[in-house]
């Protein structure tokens, strides 16, 4: 029909699953009375998600303990190759041992803090560094996306380099980054070692954010762009009223991916730069003590998992706050 025909905003975002809104029937029925049933259904769905998550964890624990119970102590060997691990307490401590170890002090020294506290503090430190890296990644990523969206030529010039940048394993160069950083000194500002770690975290975080933000900023339908044009709205007004809101469904998964990348980047960079205080450091340290205290080595691993969950959860919270920006135009 018109030239805008067929372009009715089916804004499919990458890796976005829009709960309930896209479910056929819900919105139609929500005209009057259905607000409540829809909410109930959503509630049931989150409950189901938690249930399945919990069941998954229990299953892993069950497999672990069953294998430990039934398999030979020396593991499973084919020829000379061990395809399944030994089941000794040294290689595979009991799950309850791992958890009970958390409550005990880190070392035998009388002033030692409990293990969970040490791990928790280390995880918090790493979380802080990762968050700093993530924020830098968000600023750089969205900044690059804005430049690329504004000037087509910048997209041609920049995008290949952005993609290429991710093939440089900066994590591998972490010690070099650290030594560069140590030479930076501007006035009273002095480069700290944790900043090198945050820098590497941001390097991993900015990429998905830049790509997601670019797709999001370019996502408004022509009809919406022309509407803004008909209002004689300039670049900035269009950006604020149209492009940023339209980018939200693309940005959220990108931010989540960026957060996960920042955490991984921070942990690995801590390991390779030997930064004290973070979870990466105690991961290595406790693994070194595993022969004497096998359950202890698992504590930082749980800490790292928790770290990832908290990071992803924070972004998910952002998604809840911005949920109205994830609506689609058509009535279901």
């Amino acid at each position: 029909m018109t030239d805008t025909g067929g372009r009715v905003a089916s804004r499919e975002a990458p890796r976005v699953s829009r709960p309930a809104e896209t479910e056929p029937g819900v919105s139609v029925r929500s005209q009057g009375l259905a607000a409540r049933p829809a909410k109930g259904r959503r509630g049931r769905r989150t409950a189901a998600a938690w249930g399945w998550g919990l069941a998954g964890i229990l299953l892993v624990a069950l497999v672990w303990e069953t294998y430990k119970l039934l398999a030979p102590a020396d593991g499973v060997l084919i020829g000379d190759t061990r395809v399944l691990p030994r089941t000794t307490d040294l290689a595979m401590p009991h799950i309850w041992d791992m958890f009970s170890r958390l409550a005990e002090p880190v070392t035998r020294s009388p002033s030692a803090q409990p293990l969970w506290m040490v791990v928790g503090l280390a995880a918090l430190t790493t979380l802080g560094i990762a968050a700093a890296g993530w924020l830098v990644g968000v600023v750089v990523g969205i900044g690059l996306a804005l430049v690329m969206q504004r000037w087509r030529i910048a997209e041609w010039g920049l995008l290949p380099w952005i993609v290429l940048s991710q093939t440089v394993p900066l994590i591998a160069f972490a010690p070099i980054v650290k030594s560069w950083g140590s030479r930076v000194e501007i006035g009273s500002f002095e480069w700290q070692d944790w900043m090198s770690v945050a820098l590497i975290a941001s390097y991993l975080a900015f990429f998905p954010i830049a790509i997601g933000a670019l797709r999001g900023l370019e996502s408004p339908d022509r009809i919406h762009e022309e509407l803004m044009q008909s209002y004689a709205a300039g670049y900035w007004k269009t950006l604020v009223k149209l492009r940023f809101p339209a980018a939200v469904p693309y940005l959220l998964p990108a931010l989540r991916l960026g957060a996960a990348n920042a955490v991984i980047g921070a942990v690995v960079a801590e390991v390779s730069t030997g930064l004290q205080g973070g979870i990466g450091r105690i991961l290595i340290q406790f693994a070194g003590q595993a022969s004497g205290d096998p359950a202890k080595a698992w504590a930082p691993i749980f800490g790292a998992i928790l770290l990832g969950l908290v990071a992803a959860g924070s972004v998910a919270l952002l998604g809840v706050i911005l949920k109205n920006y994830r609506r689609s135009e058509e009535s279901a």
Binding site: M1, T2, D3, T4, G5, R7, V8, A9, E21, S27, S30, Q31, D221, I223, H224, E226, L227, M228, Q229, S230, Y231, A232, A233, K237, K241, L242, P245, V248, N324, Y325, R326, R327, S328, E329, E330, S331, A332
Partner: protein, 299 residues
């Protein structure tokens, strides 16, 4: 949205007076003036001549419909008037200014075939968008939005989101949005295309009322002959490849009768059917025909 009986009411004195006012010696400037406009699209497969030598004047307060088979350039012409695209040749003026200046001065309101609402904004916030962009104070904004939503019969839906509305309701929100700044010119590209027949007739009656009340000139693209006849002072019949104006059919209905008097009864009247026939014949290049034109609804 008023019910269908509103239309059959005798015109209110205020409406008649206003209408007479807009019809009395018109100001020298016309709403839209199109002179020798060509539009050629460059495509990969070659050039497409969408418009060829278009001349058209729309007087202030006049209701003009564009009708013609699919692809004859109706939307293109409308987009040129709205300065969403540039003509290849010729000139366009809107209220005596260049179309660009008219756009910058917000001389027109526009409604597309798709509602084009912003999905993250409530109905009220969607209608408020142009007011917000042009710095209208928030108290004025709220009262104006309430008034507009009342006008299109969506007063109770102010806090809904577009995905909670039917297509017809969305379209009414879009029309309210187009009217938000009381433009002197309304550009509408098949705004009722997505509506069912009942709602469509209601909306037509509403549009007649609104345009009479506000004295706005309207350029209205449609595929429906009865719709064009019912609404318009003049119907511009276009032909395709290249898009030309085939004929401009004046509606006797509008010439002497006050526009607000276009009531539901009109649809039943003899003159109405004569006009429908006249437009249909124009669509077929002047020869009397029995069946409807291709690509044009005759319902």
């Amino acid at each position: 949205m008023s019910d269908a009986t509103t239309g059959s009411r005798a015109p209110r004195p205020a409406e008649t007076a206003q209408d007479a006012g807009s019809r009395a010696p018109r100001p020298a400037e016309s709403a839209v003036e199109v002179r020798g406009v060509d539009k050629v699209f460059e495509t990969r497969t070659g050039q497409v001549q969408a418009l060829d030598g278009i001349d058209l004047t729309v007087a202030a307060g006049e209701f003009v419909s564009l009708i013609g088979p699919s692809g004859c350039g109706k939307s293109t012409l409308m987009r040129l008037i709205a300065d969403l695209d540039d003509p290849t040749a010729g000139t366009l003026t809107v209220f005596g200014k260049s179309s660009r200046q008219a756009r910058l001065d917000q001389e027109y309101g526009i409604a597309f075939q798709q509602a084009g609402l912003l999905p993250w904004r409530t109905v009220a916030a969607n209608v408020a968008l142009p007011l917000e962009l042009h710095g209208v104070a928030s108290a004025d904004r709220r009262s104006r939005v309430a008034q507009l939503l009342e006008m299109v019969g969506l007063g109770d839906f102010a806090d809904r989101y577009p995905d909670q509305l039917s297509g017809g309701m969305q379209q009414r929100v879009a029309i309210a949005r187009a009217l938000a700044e009381q433009p002197r010119l309304l550009l509408m590209d098949e705004p009722f295309g997505a509506l069912d027949e009942m709602t469509r007739e209601k909306m037509q009656t509403e549009l007649v009322r609104i345009s009479a009340e506000t004295g706005a000139a309207v350029v209205f693209v449609t595929h429906s002959i009865p719709e064009a006849v019912f609404l318009s002072d003049r119907v511009v019949v276009m032909s395709p490849r290249p898009g030309r104006i085939q004929q401009i059919v004046p509606m006797r209905l509008g010439a002497d009768a006050a526009r607000a008097a276009r009531t539901e009864e009109l649809r039943e009247e003899r003159t109405f059917f004569d006009m429908v026939t006249a437009v249909r014949e124009a669509l077929h290049g002047g020869s009397p025909v029995a069946s409807g034109a291709r690509g044009v609804e005759t319902r």
